[in-house]
Symmetry: C2
Subunit: 349 residues, 2 copies
């Protein structure tokens, strides 16, 4: 048991906590028998839930606290006054070396602020970014930033590209990930200055991944690249737009099949395949956004997720630990021309 | 015939021009018998195409030119050296009062630059914006800017909101359109400064439409508002992301139905409904982006569109003329506190 991986869980974060945290951990544990858990939260609520999951209870340590960061709390307030919150203590466990990574479905802004304060940034990285993977026509890709940084300069985008490339290698298992900068056109002169400058730096960098240049919005779903790099405003809007389109299309499809008896019969015959399609695009499968750039592995689960979705987030955290994500980021930053890109703007020209 | 509407067509713009322009006009003419056309382009190519469409030929005037703005031409070059291009002459016809609007499937940047130079801006509007409408869960909505202005300040966004609201009333026939500012969250403190400032101005403006505040990416497809307002970078990415998702889902669906004999039988039974779904989300139905803010009605067709799509673009142009789009914009700008919003930043506080 001594070389098993410990994952710290903010047991009180998320709309359906703590039930979905405990039940999600139980699902993940079946698939990941080498994982141990540190669950931080209200023992009075956690103990009876754990009693229902004896296998999970056997590999879980509880840490009691009654404080919780609420979903509406401002990040600065959560940072100052939430020192005994389940979120803070779960992150502390990573900083103290007790756990290899932390998963929380709590307030994103607070998680970002506390994690940045407690864990600090990796050398050479100015700002954390949020990434996640999603299904495409050709497999799976990841996109970043999904909302941590609303306005980004060229060096932020370059750093996101490097972090995303390492994420694609460690979490998606892609040996030589392709990287694209999200833009309004593929030609060199398209886009604003920051993005053109970032492209110039990335063209000159010798990364294990392959920078393919600019891509457009429809390349996201097409899976034209493994890593989509963009600022947090655009990335957040694009991700939610895509989720909205899946819901729209599923609704249209339901209307189409419900519209006549013949169509309903057709649906019954094709039901298994339609169910498979639903599973393939199930957002719960893609739950588990990673806060990249921190000196520690922090995975954010969607706040409204259920047991199944929380289990997916735990699996992402476990994958990143097993594949030595943090070491690989450090190595790749050295390839950015001795890490001078962020210090030396002359590299652009 | 004297009070019929004349629409000027850049007959040489677009991948499939001039064939799709002539055939698209023929389709549109059946639905819009009160329209006359001015077709600008190479007579040697146009005459035989028109000969195939005698009904169309009867309401069409040709204007010969051999010059064409290529799809890769820089806007500044097209503006300087394209004075006899089909695009320029088609726009000139609107400025000269010969035509009520112009439709082109040519180079977007060139169209924008030439139209701005020839037609000028409407009073009170600093920059043109591109808008288009699209299918949603609850009907149809429009979004702007779709790529004319990559970086926008608060006043640009406010002007887009007013123009979009008028577009929704004239092109979509919505009496009191709802307007939302695209953001990364709905709470007041979310987003960057420009967008929060724009929200403050719009909350204080007394428009015929209803400003509902911030919306998120998934509200686009849900149709939560009639008018989605955003900067051109985000709007362009969101639109193309949505288009990409429709393709992805359609592809997944095809896979699902092709996967077994039983599923194929189900498809055959539901075929009509699936075809209806395809039609409902057919991007050709939603072809025809409008360049808003100009002192003239300019409709941009997708460059790669076919006959059917070009006909849709002509219909958009006809609707805007019939519903007196330009007059209504002027009226609504007066409601923005005597049009001081763009001149007087104090209005923000």
């Amino acid at each position: 048991m001594s070389d098993s991986i410990v994952i710290s869980l903010d047991a009180m974060g998320g709309d359906n906590a703590p039930e979905m945290v405990v039940r999600g951990a139980a699902i993940a544990q079946v698939r990941l028998p080498h994982i141990r858990f540190l669950m931080v939260g209200d023992e009075a609520q956690l103990a009876p839930l754990l009693a229902e999951q004896p296998n999970l209870a056997a590999v879980t340590t509880m840490r009691h606290t009654e404080d919780v960061v609420s979903s509406s709390e401002k990040p600065s307030v959560a940072l100052r006054s939430g020192r005994n919150s389940s979120m803070r203590l779960a992150i502390n466990a990573v900083a103290d070396g007790e756990a290899a990574s932390v998963v929380s479905a709590g307030n994103t802004g607070a998680l970002m602020a506390i994690a940045k304060f407690v864990l600090k940034m990796l050398p050479g990285i100015d700002r954390p970014a949020i990434t996640s993977f999603y299904p495409t026509r050709s497999g799976e890709s990841c996109m970043l930033d999904l909302g941590a940084n609303l306005q980004c300069d060229a060096n932020n985008l370059v750093q996101f590209a490097v972090m995303g490339e390492v994420f694609a290698r460690t979490a998606l298992g892609i040996e030589t990930p392709t990287i694209g900068l999200l833009n309004v056109g593929v030609e060199d002169q398209k886009g604003h200055e920051e993005i053109r400058e970032a492209a110039a730096i990335l063209r000159g960098a010798d990364l294990p991944g392959e920078f393919v240049g600019f891509i457009e919005g429809d390349d996201i779903a097409a899976g034209s690249v493994d890593v989509v790099v963009t600022d947090g405003f655009t990335g957040n809007v694009a991700l939610k737009t895509a989720e909205g389109m899946i819901k729209l299309y599923a609704g249209f499809l339901k209307d189409a099949f419900g519209s006549s008896l013949v169509a309903k019969t057709g649906y019954l015959l094709a039901k298994r395949e339609i169910e498979n399609l639903r599973k393939r695009t199930d957002p719960r499968r893609y739950n588990g956004a990673m806060l990249l750039g921190l000196n520690g592995i922090v995975v954010k689960s969607h706040g409204g997720t259920d047991d199944f979705g929380f289990a997916s987030a735990i699996e992402v955290a476990a994958d990143l630990v097993s594949n030595e994500f943090l070491d690989m980021i450090a190595t790749d930053f050295d390839l950015l021309d001795g890490n001078e890109a962020s210090a030396n703007k002359a590299a652009v020209s």
